[in-house]
Symmetry: C2
Subunit: 595 residues, 2 copies
């Protein structure tokens, strides 16, 4: 017995001659979060985790998901007729290999190519080449059967004033066109939502936590088209955009317009960010310039206005987080506090700041052993009270008119063991040493990662994630191309740290079943002195929230590290205390005193 | 009026229809040093620097060289009819652009392709494509006119015993064939001399400082051919090689044999190491597997026998260098000592050790301002006495049956200024911190470079060379693919540090007109502890010679750095003092006492 939705889908497959149908979890822009309209995999399978891919044939149906979701998927797939494939477990086939096995020579694989990346499609095509599989890439079969499908998000678009953006859309467009000309491009196709929002100084609310607009754009030498649901565009916004030479067209019309591109044109696009349906719409004659979106680097390098604002955003954010830590420390032991309550209270404090627009990602408050689950997010079902003599790991961020924040603090509740303190101190040392890097212009993320890991490696410990990611300005909290990574991969290779780039510094340690520690500050790259040897660079720590003295072993810090900590704490106190009540300010004074 | 040799060459060019002729400084294997036979550029131009390229047309003749040789070339080219092009100076045409300018459409460029890398030939071809230039790649025009041309080096080949090599040539060949099979290669073409010497456990003396043999090799599934001048091969060597299935053929016969390769074969070669004539000899039908020589990685990872021997080589080398430093410190101020005398005296001390086979590169003893010239080598003309109140930079190395050494010490003579000491201390800190890296398996050179540079960068200083290079075992002192570099390039990208790799750790500082400092130890990569987080790695410092206390400011070392220095010095004393005279041992005891 299979789920009704599955049966219906198979009917469609039969009707359209599709032998296998693939459903991924993405929207048309590979957004980090997807709206309800795009939740086809959940609709067909009933599994509502954030990651999972469904493959359906006439006889088989399989769902692939990762370790975070094994239990949940097992539960939700019961009686659905869908088999769970535990990705990454030994002996579990990967999807391309599964398709290789189940498809007969010359059969047909279908999917909605708007949800599939060019890279993934290429992988599939390579794996299935010998089987001579036919690909139907423009098949939204779920759309055909999903009667009560939610509407696509169509939230109002608003304009980010130049005084916040620091550069007008007119100037940004001029720069884009200058670079297009330099590369010989006649037209530039953009489909990454943060690039579009950045370029046109628009913001929206179509993706959870990312203040972006479901849209595409084509930029020509003399005109620019923004493809967006017209209901999102008020007259004021339309007039402002049109005044700068930007036409508004319906969202999905971009596929038609790309298909009609003049065959003699040179088209700049970034295959790393566009979906395979859009790539497939490009007429064969068009000459491709497949390079990183030229907006990506410009967006990563914050301008002086943005830099000033971001400092302000972090000041406001620090006030809220410091209040939260004080509140937690005061209430701990007096009454039960749950993870969800911590998130809610922090939101209350953040809302007390001006120009606060909401969270920049789903907040993590993880108590005790929950802290060791790197992707843990508390829900009504999972939320537990603060565990005694353990940590609360709190990884949250806010969207302000003045920029995007992202901060992790790990807070001691009760008394800690020597091992807990040693581990906290090692993570702290890594955080401080990376932030204190002083380097000659030209360094990339791979040059710094060691600084954050060394104190853990000394102890035979490690964390299995990158050390830091780029952060947008009132945009996505995860933004390329800058990052701190041991190995640079893909687009990040060779990305040099430029003045104005903001990158997180977040070493951690995770002991399954025990606790997790992560300490995250955002670092703004700035020019330091220039000497005959070159331009030197340094980081300014934007985040201004104290580390937890209850968890630090001063003897395990070097003299230099102790000075770095004391200097940082002094700066935190001096900058933030004027905005706090006397009681909290007094507490902060003690927390930030020299050790 | 042109040099007679130039006039003759032009006659040949005319006879063979060559409009421009190119002469580089390389032998057929891109060796670091070239024998007299290969010095065609010197023969034609009279310029005898180590780097320079000559381009000749009917009307023009130009020599390109770099800043090291501007003065010398100017002098030596006087009256030759050859124009000096100062490479790297603003406005100076590069050779491909020069050829673009002087050649007419459809004309012919000639060179001896055996001396030209595939990469360089590709550059030339791309630059001259639009001019439809014809390439004559097998034209040794200089050979035709050079009557008293020296013979090609033909030194005897000797066998490195398995007890030194640690692995028999039979085993190495088996491993090569296993990998060939895995990659589907029918035949493997080797032309890098150190790879050949490593594979067959042979050594020779055809290249200065590199104990290698002018040779090529083709390895098939069932046979292997070593192409070498037969006069170099004694009966003993021939029998040993033939017993392991290795045939001897004349050196240049490889070009014929490559030309006759079966067109259905899969040929493994590394275009990064073969010359364009050899590449051009490959028949069109042959399928190429263009990958790094599979011997390169194996050669870089020293086996346990090699590792043990190398420790022994460094012990012997340390005895010699310590004696030299003692000798210099004792004699300084009593009589004049020149740079050349220092080199000669060190050679005397090295020769006192067993199994010493000679220097591993041209020694550098650079006094005072000479130390700031990174490529300085003292000659009879340039050698100066030790400068008072300054440094002597001593960068030398030896070849032993037990391996290859490379060490730089910078020795204080007289009393130093606070700035000199500060600079020495900063370089020392970088050296110590890199050597103390403790890291999880998987790191590459780019992850560590910062450690060596940070103390200099703190002061706005830097050195404009890499931090370290791989080192062979009784082979080339510069060996890939391991290295410490800020940016990995070419073959080095992604090279993970493996147990058994030997890499130099040599930060420096160079103040033009004042002094140079470089401190170089060789580091052996080794496994450290294995934890649930993975395999950890560390470096063992092979070099065992004290740093100069007269140049160190203890207060500028962190506690950790001080401990690293004291521990190192203790190990130096304990390991080396038993081999020294009482007087020198006593001096060493003082030099290595804790600070």
């Amino acid at each position: 017995m299979a789920r009704e939705q599955l049966t219906q889908l198979r009917k469609q497959m039969k009707q359209y001659g599709i032998d296998a149908y693939l459903i991924v979890s993405d929207d048309f822009h590979a957004s980090e979060y997807v709206g309800d309209y795009f939740k086809c995999r959940e609709y067909i399978s009933g599994f509502d985790g954030s990651a999972g891919t469904l493959v359906i044939t006439a006889l088989e149906a399989g769902l692939w998901t990762d370790g975070r979701y094994f239990l949940q998927a097992e539960e939700q797939l019961k009686g659905s007729g869908i088999t769970l494939y535990r990705s990454g477990e030994p002996g579990v086939l990967r999807i391309p290999q599964f398709l290789q096995k189940v498809l007969q020579k010359g059969q047909c694989l279908g999917y909605d190519g708007r949800t599939i990346s060019v890279t993934y499609a290429t992988q599939l095509k390579e794996a299935l080449r010998e089987k001579e599989i036919r690909f139907e890439e423009n098949m939204d079969l779920v759309g055909m059967i999903w009667k009560d499908r939610p509407e696509m998000s169509a939230e109002p678009v608003w304009l980010l004033a130049d005084c916040y953006a620091g550069k007008s859309r007119r100037e940004k467009l001029m720069e884009v066109r200058r670079q297009m000309k330099q590369q010989g491009a006649d037209v530039f196709l953009l489909s990454s939502l943060d690039d579009i929002a950045w370029l046109y100084n628009i913001r929206g609310n179509d993706i959870a936590y990312n203040p972006v607009v479901l849209s595409y754009s084509l930029i020509y030498g003399d005109r620019a088209v923004l493809y967006v649901n017209p209901v999102c565009i008020t007259d004021v916004v339309r007039e402002a955009l049109e005044a700068d030479g930007i036409e508004i067209c319906p969202y999905l019309q971009v596929y038609r317009d790309v298909r009609r591109l003049n065959r003699e044109m040179n088209l700049w696009l970034d295959e790393g960010t566009i979906n395979v349906a859009l790539r497939g719409a490009v007429p064969p004659g068009v000459r491709l310039i497949n390079r990183r979106n030229l907006t990506t680097e410009q967006k990563a390098v914050k301008n002086p206005v943005e830099m000033d604002h971001v400092r302000e955003a972090h000041r406001k954010d620090a006030i809220a987080v410091i209040k939260l830590i004080y509140w937690l420390k005061q209430n701990y032991g007096k009454r039960q506090i749950t993870e969800l309550e911590i998130c809610e209270q922090l939101e209350v404090f953040r809302c007390q700041g001006t120009h606060y627009l909401g969270q920049s990602f789903a907040p993590i408050a993880a108590s005790g052993a929950h802290g060791a689950i790197v992707h843990y997010e508390p829900t009504k079902e999972s939320s537990i009270p603060v565990v005694d003599n353990n940590f609360v790991l709190l990884d949250t961020g806010g969207q302000y008119l003045e920029g995007t924040t992202d901060i992790t603090r790990t807070i001691a509740c009760g008394s800690l063991s020597p091992q807990q303190k040693q581990h906290y101190t090692a993570v702290l040392r890594g955080n401080l040493n990376l932030a204190a890097a002083h380097f000659k212009y030209g360094c990339t993320g791979a040059n710094f990662d060691y600084l954050a890991r060394a104190p853990l490696w000394e102890l035979g410990l490690d964390y299995l994630h990158g050390t830091g990611h780029g952060v947008g300005y009132l945009l996505n909290v995860h933004e390329g191309p800058n990052a701190f990574r041991l190995k640079e991969a893909g687009d990040r290779v060779g990305t040099v740290f430029e003045e104005g780039m903001i990158t997180s510094d977040e070493p951690g340690l995770y002991l399954a079943g025990q606790y997790g520690i992560r300490l995250e500050n955002l670092l703004l790259c700035k020019k330091a002195e220039k000497t005959e040897y070159g331009q030197f660079m340094e980081f300014e720590t934007l985040t201004l929230v104290p580390f937890d003295r209850d968890a630090i072993v001063p003897e395990q810090l070097s003299d230099r590290e102790r000075k770095l900590l004391n200097d940082y704490h002094k700066r935190v106190y001096e900058t933030i205390s004027p905005y706090l009540d006397a009681e909290v300010a007094e507490w902060l004074r003690e927390e930030t005193g020299a050790i």
